[in-house]
């Protein structure tokens, strides 16, 4: 279409933010219930559509994605039990909103990996960015390198295990679940946490508001030994335990209008 004089042709992609291609590329090599997908020349949307096609329609249970190239939002919203291997690094929001898969990422992930995971296992061989495991509700997330800031922010369940160090505000506002850090953690650990447990083997730079040392018991030892055994992480180091001090709990206080009714 020619540009009319005095008018600028604006298409839906004027700001370059929309990825229009919505056909499944069907380029994977399928062998029984296994498949290999080379993502080198595919867009984010094509890769995710291909994964859905393989897992939901072709009955594939084990997919290897080659050359993910640190693209954002790969492997999101997978809601079935399966095994996915990313042979490289992912960008932001990798493997978010998943329920069930067992995912192995052989490289690094950017911010907000596994955000809102419901169940499943994600193993990351290298480092992870900030907000790793944000708001997860279940499943296990294992990072073998180091993580950025605010790991497990708003966590509502599941377990996050980090073998390296972690940044500031780790466990910020966590509500349930467990976090296990083998390295040092930054300032503001467990700031404003509601509940849940944080285990740290390294040094803690400072505790956040209302995060206090907890009392160790047998179930803590059992949990850590079991998780280390399942994921082959060797013998666990000695951990300190941190929980919520519950000084910020004001749930029993009635609103002024309600108090009038009761009294």
């Amino acid at each position: 279409m020619d540009v009319l004089a005095g008018e600028r042709m604006i298409t839906y992609d004027a700001r370059g933010l929309v990825e229009p291609d919505d056909t499944v590329p069907r380029v994977s090599e399928i062998d029984g219930d296994r498949a290999v997908l080379d993502a080198k020349t595919l867009t984010t949307r094509q890769i995710n559509l291909e994964l859905r096609w393989l897992l939901y329609q072709e009955g594939v249970r084990d997919v290897t994605v080659l050359n993910p190239g640190a693209k954002h939002s790969l492997g999101v919203g997978i809601l079935t039990r399966c095994r996915i291997t990313f042979d490289g690094s992912l960008g932001y929001f990798g493997c978010g909103l998943i329920d069930g898969p067992e995912i192995h990422i052989k490289g690094r992930v950017g911010w907000s990996a596994c955000e809102n995971m419901m169940s499943g296992v994600v193993t990351i061989d290298s480092n992870a960015g900030s907000l790793t495991g944000a708001a997860i509700r279940g499943g296990d997330l294992i990072v073998k390198g180091q993580v950025g800031a605010r790991t497990g922010i708003d966590q509502k369940g599941g377990t996050i295990i980090v073998l390296g160090r972690a940044g500031s505000m780790t466990g910020f506002m966590m509500q349930r679940g467990r976090q296990i850090f083998c390295g040092d953690v930054g300032p503001g650990l467990g700031d404003s946490m509601y509940d849940g447990t944080i285990y740290v083997a390294g040094r803690v730079k400072s505790l956040g508001i209302d995060c206090v040392p907890g009392e160790w018991n047998d179930s803590d030892t059992e949990l850590i030994e079991r998780k280390f055994r399942i994921y082959g992480l060797g013998s666990p180091p000695a951990f300190q335990k941190f929980v919520c001090g519950k000084r910020l709990y004001n749930y029993d206080n009635l609103e002024p209008s309600e108090r009038k009714l009761v009294l």
């Binding site: 700001r15 370059g16 933010l17 190239g69 640190a70 693209k71 954002h72 490289g88 690094s89 960008g91 932001y92 490289g107 690094r108 950017g110 911010w111 290298s126 480092n127 960015g129 900030s130 390198g145 180091q146 950025g148 800031a149 605010r150 940044g167 500031s168 505000m169 930054g186 300032p187």
Partner: protein
């Protein structure tokens, strides 16, 4: 949101396609900021002073006298340079409104800027012996094509894609910022400064000028002021962590160094790749992968970190 990127080659021979590399990095982060794109590129250090300036914006209304006025102002800039004793070598018209001029000059750079910027609508974008700042509206490929940056050879570069939040979409509001009146220092920034007005007023009282309403400009001038007091780049950046409030990750470059600083909350992203021959850093790993085509080991710097590399 904004995206920032930096690249520095460590072997020091100065023969690298930094213009092409930076375009690839910035284009892959277009989604972080589609409003404008800017580059601070370092070519081989020269005896001559290189100045980039603009006399109008891409989206300025073009009235009947626009072209005539531009010619008049351009002649005025040249006359003023000669008046200050500069011996002009070459003037290149990069676009209809932006120019690159090289000249022999051994006086103070501040005098050049003040006198040139006295011409209506003139803004000095960069001044120094190796720094060249190029910024305009549009994405990286558009700007690189417009200013023919693909062939730019040098040692290091930083770049910025902007999503405007607190000031206008125009060249003055685009990054990088040159650290007036210091030659060869530039800054790109991702974030917001909350004590911007305090610092702006403080620096204005000590004689610095601000060309934009953008909070990021204060970082460049702040660092320049500190370095003029005798601080090293790294020390100046460390002090900035205490004295500048807000959320930020910024990259500062000088003639032979590139430094990055991250605020104490680690609120803004940065991914770092360090190899023997190159250090590349960007808001997203995808930008680094635009110039390195194999799997790499990268990591996020932590809160309150300052790092400096030299070429």
């Amino acid at each position: 949101m904004c995206g920032i990127a930096g690249i520095i080659y460590r072997n020091g021979d100065g023969q690298h396609t930094v213009g092409h590399d930076m375009t690839a990095m910035l284009q892959s982060m277009k989604h972080r900021g589609p409003d404008s794109t800017g580059y601070a590129l370092y070519g081989p250090a020269s005896e001559l002073v290189v100045m980039r300036y603009k006399l109008a914006d891409a989206n300025d209304p073009r009235d009947f006298e626009f072209a005539q006025r531009l010619e008049h102002h351009k002649a005025d800039v040249e006359a003023r340079l000669r008046m200050l004793g500069a011996k002009i070598h070459e003037i290149e018209k990069e676009t209809g409104y932006a120019y690159r001029v090289t000249f022999e000059y051994d006086g103070e750079l501040k005098a050049i800027t003040d006198v040139v910027e006295d011409v209506p609508h003139a803004e000095v974008l960069s001044l120094g012996h190796s720094l060249e700042i190029v910024k305009d509206l549009g994405d990286a490929e558009q700007v690189a094509k417009q200013y023919r940056l693909d062939g730019f050879i040098g040692t290091h570069a930083i770049g910025h894609v902007r999503m405007a939040t607190e000031s206008d979409v125009d060249i003055s509001g685009a990054h990088p910022y040159w650290a007036y009146p210091f030659g060869d220092v530039a800054v790109v920034h991702n974030g917001q400064l909350t004590n911007y007005f305090q610092w702006k007023h403080r620096l204005e009282r000590s004689g610095h000028r601000f060309q934009s309403e953008c909070d990021s400009e204060v970082i460049a001038v702040y660092l320049a002021e500190k370095m003029s007091e005798g601080h090293s780049l790294e020390d100046a950046m460390r002090e900035s962590l205490e004295e500048l409030d807000g959320v930020f990750t910024y990259i500062c470059v000088t003639g032979d160094a590139l430094g990055v600083a991250k605020d104490e909350m680690a609120a803004k992203p940065l991914v770092l790749y360090e190899a023997d021959d190159i250090v590349a850093l960007a808001s997203e790993e995808i930008a680094i992968r635009a110039i390195v085509d194999h799997e790499i080991e990268t990591w996020d710097p932590y809160e309150g970190e300052v790092m400096v590399w030299t070429c």
